[in-house]
């Protein structure tokens, strides 16, 4: 039950004790580790390079396994825009993803602060309920939730893809609560004496001090929402409303293994679907690593 609280980013970055000078001659013993790690890097990275490279090859050479294309077929990326409304899908995804990430960050922070700061009857029971919802498979609520959106006439729009995020999400509530609990209570008491409202405590103290955790939540949800396939499959009928993953599925069905075998189109689509997440990852790498490393410590 007792959950160790992670308070500061340094917790993850705790310096590894470097070998004392006298043991430097043991450096060569690390060689096998280096070789193992480099071999693993190749395994992780090579498929990426293969995809990017193959997406730039003409159809006949897609599977030639050459790392650098013999001829560059830049037109693949033009073709994919012409055979499918990829630009529309891309911007649909951008909008849905941003809405989902902003909504879940704000709402989860509110709820997390409610659990972290206040003392009220039933707090532990309610928080237990939050955690319990994490175990519930989406499949259980999938159909009734669809019926709800259907009954309000939004079942074939993009609204169901992000609107549920307005009500917080268990995992992020848990994560943010941990961070809010880590703030020294004196800060809040002092602000109370200075006449701050509860909202002021949240908005002017808790949120600014937990900005890293808010960013973690935001980028995690960017990734989750951008990648979501199930909800677009359930809700979106009109091709114009497709998100990028749903669009990639359509491209794959039409041009992939079961379709016309135009793999260069599918590859270009895959690159377009994946690239934004790679960029987000490189921009927010620190936060991804920090957030993930924190997860394992819920004890």
């Amino acid at each position: 039950m007792a959950a160790p609280v992670v308070t500061a980013p340094e917790a993850v970055q705790a310096p590894e004790s470097t070998a004392p000078p006298g043991r430097r001659r043991r450096g060569w013993r690390r060689l096998p580790f280096w070789l193992g790690l480099i071999a693993a890097s190749v395994l992780f990275l090579y498929p990426f390079l293969w995809v990017v490279s193959a997406s730039l090859k003409p159809r006949s050479q897609v599977f030639d396994n050459a790392l650098i294309p013999k001829q560059f077929a830049w037109e693949n990326f033009v073709n994919v825009w012409t055979v499918a409304p990829v630009l529309t899908w891309f911007f649909n995804s951008v909008l849905v993803t941003l809405a989902a990430a902003v909504a879940v960050t704000v709402s989860s922070a509110l709820v997390a602060f409610g659990f972290a700061y206040f003392r009220f009857p039933g707090r532990n029971v309610l928080f237990g309920l939050v955690l319990a919802t994490m175990m519930l498979p989406t499949a259980v609520t999938m159909i009734p939730v669809y019926m709800i959106w259907n009954s309000v006439g939004l079942a074939t729009t993009q609204v169901p893809l992000w609107a549920a995020n307005l009500f917080g999400s268990a995992f992020y509530i848990f994560l943010l609560r941990q961070f809010f609990l880590g703030l020294p209570r004196d800060i809040f008491e002092a602000a109370r004496i200075d006449g701050a409202s509860y909202w002021g405590l949240f908005w002017r103290i808790a949120v600014p001090l937990c900005k890293p955790a808010m960013i973690v939540t935001f980028v995690f949800e960017l990734k989750a929402s951008w990648s979501d396939l199930l909800k677009p499959l359930i809700y979106l009928r009109d091709t114009e409303l497709y998100t990028m993953p749903r669009g990639l599925k359509a491209i794959s069905d039409q041009f992939g293994q079961s379709g016309e075998q135009q793999w260069e189109v599918v590859l270009a689509g895959s690159v377009i679907t994946t690239l934004p997440m790679v960029i987000v990852f490189f921009l927010a790498q620190r936060h991804f690593v920090y957030g993930i490393a924190t997860q394992g410590r819920k004890g």
Binding site: E16, Y46, M135, A293
Partner: protein, 315 residues
């Protein structure tokens, strides 16, 4: 446990709940409470109700009693789907944990600065959307022209038809799954860095071998992280959908060649609900899945009590 156990009169915190504070708390909680009632608790009740009907969203709904559940127990396709999912989980979860631990251990042995670079490389595949992973699977694991068999060919192995030969589909998907384990590696690495160095020094003084240090110091000290990933990975593996559905289902032509080898539980559930519109049956299926997940998690928690070491824990 909670902070509210101190009841002694002189303790200022011993007073009752502040009404004003309670009201404010529920104001902050209101988004979640609303969402929980409308999007979780309510739908759970409705889902349970639907599981006793033949609801299809079109025709009039009637009560069918336990018929959906009887069908759940006898449907051969459902049995296939459940078996596939369990086989995949039993292969994928331990494989993920072992490979991640192996990588994390190696990472913890090299200098901090180089760790960062490797960590980045290992995590990168994990940002790839699962739908793209499903597409990649078809290409990389293609029996004739795929990269995997080309690589196996280099060392003289004639690789199988991963994506079309039934028995090879799940092992292939497990291997593909191992591509995105970077998150687990990061969790283990953080746990390894938290193991106090003096424990190793003490073990050294006692003349422990490398294996004994790993077995009797490292493993117990990171058992919390191992347990956490075991639970989360299992729950996720049992709900595998995106990769399998992308690669094998959804288009008319794909139905013929996949021969149910990649029919995962949630894939079949999705088909029943939104393609065949057997929403009552799908609801019953969802409850069976929930039951399976709860049972497995329960046994994992029971088991963990014997193996997981919590520092400063009261157990």
């Amino acid at each position: 446990m909670s902070t509210r156990t101190d009841r002694r009169p002189q303790a200022r915190r011993g007073r009752r709940y502040d009404k004003h504070e309670t009201r404010a708390a529920f104001a902050f909680l209101s988004p979640w409470i609303f969402g929980f009632l409308v999007l979780t608790a309510g739908p759970m009740v409705v889902s349970l109700f639907l599981s006793f009907t033949d609801y299809d969203g079109l025709r009039e709904t009637s009560n069918v009693g336990w018929r959906n559940y009887e069908q759940v127990l006898t449907d051969p396709k459902l049995r296939t789907a459940l078996t596939n999912t369990l086989i995949f989980s039993v292969l994928a979860v331990p494989a993920t944990m072992i490979v991640s631990l192996w990588l994390a251990t190696m990472l913890s042995k090299v200098g901090r600065r180089s760790t960062g670079v490797f960590r980045t490389l290992y995590y990168l595949p994990e940002v790839t959307p699962k739908v793209a992973i499903g597409v990649l699977f078809l290409m990389l694991f293609n029996g004739q022209v795929g990269l995997v068999n080309a690589a196996l060919g280099l060392i003289g192995i004639d690789g199988p038809d991963w994506s079309t030969d039934g028995p090879w589909v799940k092992p292939g998907l497990v291997l593909m799954h191992l591509w995105s384990i970077g998150g687990t590696v990061i969790i283990y690495l953080a746990a390894l860095h938290n193991v106090p160095r003096d424990l190793y020094e003490a073990a050294d003084l006692d003349g422990a071998s490398a294996w004994q240090r790993f077995r009797h110091v490292t493993l117990p000290m990171i058992s919390g992280a191992l347990f956490f990933t075991l639970i989360v990975q299992t729950i996720n593996a049992l709900q595998t959908f995106d990769e399998a559905y992308t690669a094998f289902y959804g288009s008319a032509a794909s139905a013929s060649y996949s021969s149910d080898a990649a029919l995962f539980y949630v894939v079949y559930l999705f088909q029943q609900a939104f393609q065949f519109l057997h929403m009552g049956y799908a609801s019953a299926m969802a409850w069976l899945l929930f039951l399976v997940i709860m049972l497995i998690t329960f046994f994992q928690v029971r088991l963990s009590r014997r193996f997981v070491y919590y520092e400063g824990g009261d157990r």
